[in-house]
Symmetry: C2
């Protein structure tokens, strides 16, 4: 049991042919988040039922670590690196929908 | 990168005063799932925005391991152990909504 662990889920929807590019961009990421205080991991989940729906699931020691990262230069730089046409493909389909969760038990 | 990892998310909604009971029941679980082939972990996430919404997130080596568990006596026994009034509280609010995800990258 890790008390206070926090998970942030960003739900993206892209055209199915863009999913591989999204995952490639994720794999080639600068990795700035990986060194951020409180960061505990990031995963990409693809919905089985709806293959254009992709969740970015990040895990943090506490909510405050996540909000500090969201305000950081590291976060801004990471997003600036996403290719413009891929950014546009995400925007056209649906805005990011972000939901936070407290991990209550494991 | 763990190829083929599979995540199942069950979304439950209960009255806020039942959330602690749900988490207690989870912590006191028989643990039959923990020994099941391919099982890699189970977490309870509570929505920050909607505190009566609780996700049960289970992680599997592959989808086939999850479906084998769902058909097993171990799964049936685990559910039979949930106190009847808690089962009713979950049912009254909303049926389980289960979504599967393939972990594409980590």
């Amino acid at each position: 049991m890790d008390d206070g662990m926090y998970v942030s889920v960003s739900r993206l929807r892209v055209e199915i042919h863009q999913v591989d590019r999204l995952i490639d961009a994720f794999r080639a990421r600068a990795g700035l988040v990986d060194a951020f205080p409180g960061f505990m991991g990031l995963e990409v989940w693809r919905s089985e039922r709806s293959p254009g729906e992709v969740l970015m699931v990040s895990r943090w020691r506490a909510r405050a670590d996540f909000t500090a990262y969201m305000k950081s230069d590291a976060h801004q730089l990471s997003h600036d690196r996403i290719p413009a046409d891929l950014q546009d493909a995400i925007r056209l389909e649906r805005l990011d929908h972000v939901t936070g969760y407290d991990v209550m038990a494991r």
